[in-house]
Structure formats: C-alpha cells, structure tokens
C-alpha cells in the first residue's frame, strides 16, 4: 500500500504539471473575454455625484486600462507570476485576500451540501434500483424531478420563509454566523472546524445552524443527478454476473447489495459527484445571494456586473485550479474504490 501511495503521489504531481497549459489558456481567455465585454469599468466606478472626466481617467489609470490590451496582458501575466491577482475596485482589497477569505465559506457550504445530497441520493438511488418500475422507484423519480425543477433561490427563499420567518426555527439567514457571536481564531477558515478547535461548542452550534438552510437548498438541486446515476449504475451492477454468482452461493442480501453491487456501482457516482462539486462551487451564486453568504460566487457576480476585471479573472482562475484539483481527487478516489484503475 505504501509504495503504491508513493507512486500515486508522483503520478498526481505529473498530472498537476500537465494541466498547467490548460490553466494558462483559461487565464488568457478570461482576460480577453473581460476586455471584449461592453461597458467601461472606469465610468461605472466614477459614478459618484461629482465624478467627471478627470476622475474617470484616474480610475482608468489605477486599473491599468490606459495601456493597450497586449501591454495589459503582459502586465497581468507577470503580476500573476508574482502571485498578485490585482485589486478589486468593489471592496478595495487585493483580490487574493478577498478570495482567500471567501473561498472557505464557499467550500464549507458546498461540501456540506454535497454531503447532504450524497447521504440522501445514494440510498434513494439504491432503493430505486432494487425495485425498478415499482411505486418506490416512481416516488424517487418524482422527488428528484421536484428537486431539480425548483431553482435554488426559490427553494432557498421558501426554506427561509418556512423555517425562519414562520416557524422561527432557523437563525436569521445572513452570513455564516450570528453577528453577535465572536469568531474563533481562524485556522482552517471552516467555521465548523475552527469552533471545534477552539473548544467553543456554542459557537460551533451557531455556525452549523447557519449552514443548514443554504446547504439544504443547494443539496435539493443536486440530489437528482446523483440519485439517477446511482440508480443506473446499480441496475447494471445488479444484473451483472458477479452479483448473480454471489447470490447463487447464498451470500446474505445485505452483503450482495452493499459489498458487491454498490461498491462496483459507486465509480460513476464519484465521477458525477466531482463534477457536481465543481459546478456547485460556481453555480451556488444564487444561494449565496439569498443567504448573504460571503462566498466567492456572489463576489464574482457582483464584480462581473460592475465590470470589475480583477476579481472576475481571479475567480475564473481559482475555479479552473479547483476543477483540476477535484478531477485529481476523483481519480485518486477511483483508485481506492477500484484498485485496477490507476491514474496516469
């Protein structure tokens, strides 16, 4: 196991290197795309009651927009090389700092949502596959359809309305933590972990309560693809020779389903979970908006609407990097689930 782990690491490193050209392409493409978009950010940001031509010119200079596009690109790339993603006009902070502060919020939310989704989707898919065409199967299908057809911001607002506004069960849907709770020292950036590390159970509970509604509204939306994939691959796996053999030798039903069928069926689920995770991270902008969640997606949307170039570029780069990493993790998980698969 140990030697194979070492080999896996080497291969993983090689994989990361080979994705650098793709990242570079994303970098240049986003840069050009932002420049082609209509709208002059300098004019937008100079929209104070008295901002005239002089102020617009000054902002343009500050944003580096007074140079030609190729020149800007060269400056941009050399800045990136030095780990500088530029400065956001919106928040006035360096983009890197903004992203570093906001990424844990998005990750924490997305991980939680994905976990909730998996916890519901895998059993649902399995149950549906065991009795295809039955009432249960149709029930699962209906539930999935409902989850997918209700947009996240609608389910988010509904959840807020019921659990916060009507029942008063949930805390107020603003941000990651009640404003009156003092924060723990930031170690991982994940509040639910930092509170535990600080030994503050009350704070941990407050952070978790805050997390539930947004995570559930996101999870509802992605249960469908996960459950459908689980069902499909379970069906294939249940109908295969090894399951028939396992059954015929009289192994328990539980052992057949869980150990033999599910373990084989889980590979596509991992793949889809990886993809779902990457999409959720960027696409949860509506949930972040509804719950005032200080994540990266709502940050990028605000930046896009105000043509604030640096944060948008930084966000796309971050997403591309994460996508590469998630794919890598998926491949490694593959190797663990099925030792015949090795990454290369």
């Amino acid at each position: 196991m140990k030697t194979s782990l070492g080999a896996t690491m080497v291969r993983a490193g090689r994989r990361l290197l080979s994705s650098l050209p793709a990242l570079f392409g994303v970098l240049v493409f986003t840069f050009l795309l932002m420049r082609v978009l209509p709208g002059d950010p300098a004019v937008f940001f100079a929209s104070g009651p008295n901002a005239g031509k002089e102020e617009i010119e000054q902002i343009r200079k500050q944003m580096g927009l007074d140079r030609s596009v190729p020149e800007q690109l060269v400056f941009y790339l050399s800045d990136i090389g030095r780990g500088n993603l530029g400065r956001s006009m919106m928040t006035g902070q360096p983009v890197l700092k903004d992203l570093r502060e906001r990424l844990p919020a998005s990750l924490e939310l997305t991980f939680t949502a994905l976990l909730i989704a998996l916890i519901f989707a895998v059993p649902l898919g399995v149950v549906a596959a065991l009795k295809p065409g039955s009432v249960v199967d149709h029930g699962v299908r209906l539930f999935c359809a409902l989850g997918v057809c209700v947009p996240t911001f609608v389910s988010g607002l509904l959840l807020i309305y019921v659990f916060y506004y009507m029942l008063g069960l949930a805390p107020d849907p603003t941000g990651r933590i009640d404003v009156f709770t003092s924060l723990p020292p930031s170690r991982t950036g994940f509040l639910s972990i930092d509170f535990l590390l600080a030994g503050d159970v009350e704070g941990w509970w407050a952070a978790c309560r805050q997390l539930i509604l947004p995570a559930v509204s996101m999870a509802l939306f992605v249960i469908a693809p996960l459950a459908r994939i689980t069902r499909a691959s379970m069906l294939v796996s249940l109908g295969s020779d090894f399951v028939r053999t396992a059954r015929s030798v009289g192994l328990s039903w539980r052992k057949v389903v869980v150990t033999y069928a599910l373990r084989n069926a889980i590979l596509p689920v991992i793949t889809i979970a990886g993809i779902v995770f990457s999409t959720m991270l960027g696409a949860n902008v509506l949930v972040e908006k509804v719950f005032s969640w200080p994540g990266v997606a709502s940050y990028a949307l605000d930046a896009l609407l105000s043509s604030d170039y640096a944060p948008v570029q930084g966000f796309v780069l971050l997403m591309a990097t994460l996508f590469v990493l998630v794919n890598l993790v998926v491949d490694i998980c593959y190797g663990i689930a099925d030792p015949r698969v090795s990454i290369g």
Binding site: P38, G39, D40, P41, V43, F44, F45, A46, S47, G48, P49, N50, A51, G52, E54, E55, I56, Q58, I59, Q62, M90, T91, G92, L107, F111, T112, L115, I116, I160, Y164, Y165, G168, L169, P171, D172, P173, T174, G175, V179, F180, T188, F190, S192, I193, L196, E202, W205, A206, C208, R209, L211, I212, V290, S292, P294, Y299, D302, L305, S307, V329
Partner: protein
Amino acid sequence: MRFVSFRPAASVLATTALLLIATAPSQAQTRAETLRYVTGSAVNTLDPNIPGSTRESFALSMSTYDRLVAFGRKQLNGKWVFDLDTITGELAESYDVSPDGLKLTFRLRKDAKFQDGSPVTADDVKWSLDRCVTAPILGKAQLLTGSLTSADQFKVIDPLTIEVTLPKPDKLALPNLATVYPMIINSKLAKEHATTDDPWATAWLKEHTAGSGAYVVETFKPGEQVILKRDEAWNRGTANKPAFFKRVIIQSVPEPATRANLVERGDADLVVDLQASDVQSLEAKGKLKVISTPQYNAITYVSMNNQIPPFDNVNVRRAIAYALPYDDMFKAAMFGRGAPLFGASWPDGKPLNGIYPFQQPVKLDFDKAREYLKAAGLPEGFSTTFSFNVGQSSTAEPMAALVKESLGKIGIKVDIQKLPDAQMSTQINEKKLPFYTEGIVAWLPSTDYFYRNFYTGNQRWNYSSINNPELAEIAQGARFEPDKAKYEEAGRKLNAMHFDLMPQIMLWQPNQDAVMAASVEGYTYEFHRQIDYRDVSRK
C-alpha cells in the same frame, strides 16, 4: 482533503438531527444597546473620498469622522429631513462669515479629541482640507462647487482658529464643508502612514480611520459587514452627549426579501432600501415604524438626447411629454410612493416658484401629443430604443413596458433595452443613448446647482445633452447672486425654460422608505440617502 470533507459531514448529521429539537435562539445581552442596520450594498472603504466608494461608505464616514460644520434638521410634512439652510457647528464651536462673504472663520471646540486621544487642532483641519482639494480624490470635484479649489484658501490663525478665503461670495462654500468629503483627519497619524508616492495617505486611510467621530471601527469586512463601537469621549451629539447606541452593526444582505424578513422578525432594527411592495405590506401590518420621505434632493427622469434626431426637435420631446402614462407609471414602478413631478396646474401658464425640481403641468393627452408630432413633421411616428439599468429593473421594467405601450398609440415604436449597469454608464457618458430613464441626486439641492450640473456643459450628468447658451448663462449667473429676490426670479426663468424646451421629462421624487423597529427613534432623512447612526436612538 479527507480531513476537510469529513468533519462537516459529522457536524451536518448532528445538526440536522438537533435542528428538530433545539430551537432556542441565543440572544446576546447587548442587543438593546446595539443598532443592527441591514443594507443591500456594502461599505467598501473607510475613506469616502476613494473613487468607487458606495453610499454605505459615505454614511459610515459621517459617524467615524467629524466635519467643521453639519446640516441642521427640519420637519417636512411631519418628517425629519436634513436642512440645507441651517448650518451648525460640529468641530467648530462657532463660525463667522465676513460681511462681504469672502472670509469664513471657524473657531474649534477646545474639548474635541481624535479617537487616539490627541486634540483636534487647526493644523489637522488645514491638512484635511488641503488634502481634499489637492489629492486625487472625490472631494476635489465636490469642493469645486463651493469655490474651494486651492490649499492657499485655508489659513491657520491660531491652534483653534482657521480661516477660509473665497474668491467670490459663494453660497455653497459653507454647506460644502458639511458634506461627506471634507472630513477632518488626524493629520499626525495619517502623515505617519503617508509615502512619497502617496503623500495624502489614501491607501492607509482606505482601511483605517483616523477621525474624531462618534464611532470607532471595531471590525471591517469589506463587502460583508462593519461593526462600530461608540466613542465615549465624543460629545458632539444632541445635548452634548455621546451617540445613543453602544454598537452599530452595518451588514450587507443583498436579497431585498430577506432584508424585509429580518426587520419584520425583529432581528434587524433598521433598513432603508426595501422593495416598494414589501414596504407597503409591512406598513399595512402595522407592527413596524415606516417613515417615508420623498427624496427631495433626488429626481427620476425620462431623458432624451437633445442632439440625436428626432429628439433634437423640441416638438418631438413635447409630444413624448404628453404621451407618457404618468399615473400608471407612478403606480406600477413606485406603488405611488414618492412625490410626483407631473400633473401640476399653472393658472397663468408660469412656474409657481423658482425652486427646482418642480411639478410640471404635463399629463397624458394623446391629442396634444399627436399635434406636436405633426408639428415636428413626423405624423406617422418613428422608431427608437428605450434603455434602463439592470440595477434599476424592479422600478424601470414596468415603467418601460408602459412607455412602450403608450407611445405605440401615437405611432412611436419603442424597443426596450435592458443594459448592465457598467454598460449603461458608459453609453450615457459617451452620449450614445437616445431615450432612457435615469435618476439623479444632488447633495446641495439649490436651483442653480441643479441647472449648472444637469443642464449645461458636455459632461456626463447633462443627460439630455442640452446646449442652450441662455439657460447656461442664467444658471451660472444665479450661482453668485446674493439678492434673494433676483435669485428667485432667475429660478423662475430657468423653470419656465425647462418646461418650454422639455430637455428631459421629470417624473417623480422616489420615497426613501425607512422601516424600523417600533422602538427606534430619531430617524432623519439625510442628504447622502443613508442613515446617520448618530441620529437614531432606542426608546
């Protein structure tokens, strides 16, 4: 990766189970002494002078910094609003204006201290005002409107006296010193953080405060929230007392429905930017205090570019002015919340007074509209586009639909164009939009200020791109007119010209709807259209 992903798993499992049992919300004890204000936008800088600063940043700076003087307040239809005509001392204990109007002398309070404990001196005032007119910051353009342009105009007489010299007796010099930008900075502290590239410490002041204001910034998370702590030594409030609230939390909540929920549930104390429909339903429920003040320094327009055909023809502009369904638009866009600027009656056909904005005698009248179209040589109508900002779509979208429908009846084909905010600003700046809706605000709402800024010159705020030498001359002349009667006469003339030329069509002054807990008192409509946290208290 494994560590990271599995801990939340455990926590989520536990919480999902516990959510069903545990319900008691943990309330901090300091709640009554804390003001929680929720807003759609965010504070993005601690120095409002930075280009790109938001309205929330303006409001924040009013409480963290003092200015030499401040606006008083007055009642308008039973509601408190800022009063442009009463200027009271803030850091200045008293001030004098010389008889010729060329010299303003400010005597500082002896007991005023910065938040680090050092006394406020005339040197700090001079440095701050110098910064405002010299550094490349927003204050420069603002102070220009009050003839404050150069550092030579500010002179330290003694440690507690400062003198401001004006080239001409400018009515707007003093009120300008009460606006957001000319805040008084602790110059010693700021200079410590100045660099050769940045002699006015703009970078440092963006993230730090060095003021003498009522509140100290405790935490500042750009784009999320700011927490303020009361400065106990500050005594420049009413009755020389510190501000009421011990803490102020300014939190960004982008979703308007959530803001409404928060204030209705009592979790937030105060909110100003709700959707009109939410305000109406909250008002109807009667649990909360709703104070609606027409923004008397703001106007919503339909603008026509007076240089682009066919809008360069005055009869086309008049035709449109008579073809807009004002009442329906006002109801659909604003739920009737605001002060209409249409449908006046001018008995002798002349403006009632010289105040701008004013109510114009226009109303929906298709016959008149058709006549004007015929007079313009376009009896069959024409095609055009009507644009608005995505950011304003909740009010502009229903309005645009009504404009399209109504103009269609006199043969004008309208294409609705919904533009992203940055794109819209760019096109307005380049004067490319023929027909659109926009809103404006003036901090110092005097008639000549409006006409000079919004109806003259080739700058962005001249939305209609009107170029009328006579109008420009009257507006410029009125600026330095000391005689009140003559000023009023100039205002009447300008208003009559506005109605005659119809460069753009004034629609209404939107309401500022402040919704607050029943216990919150003292709310005042401020020139920056945000809350002054020093105004409010709890019963």
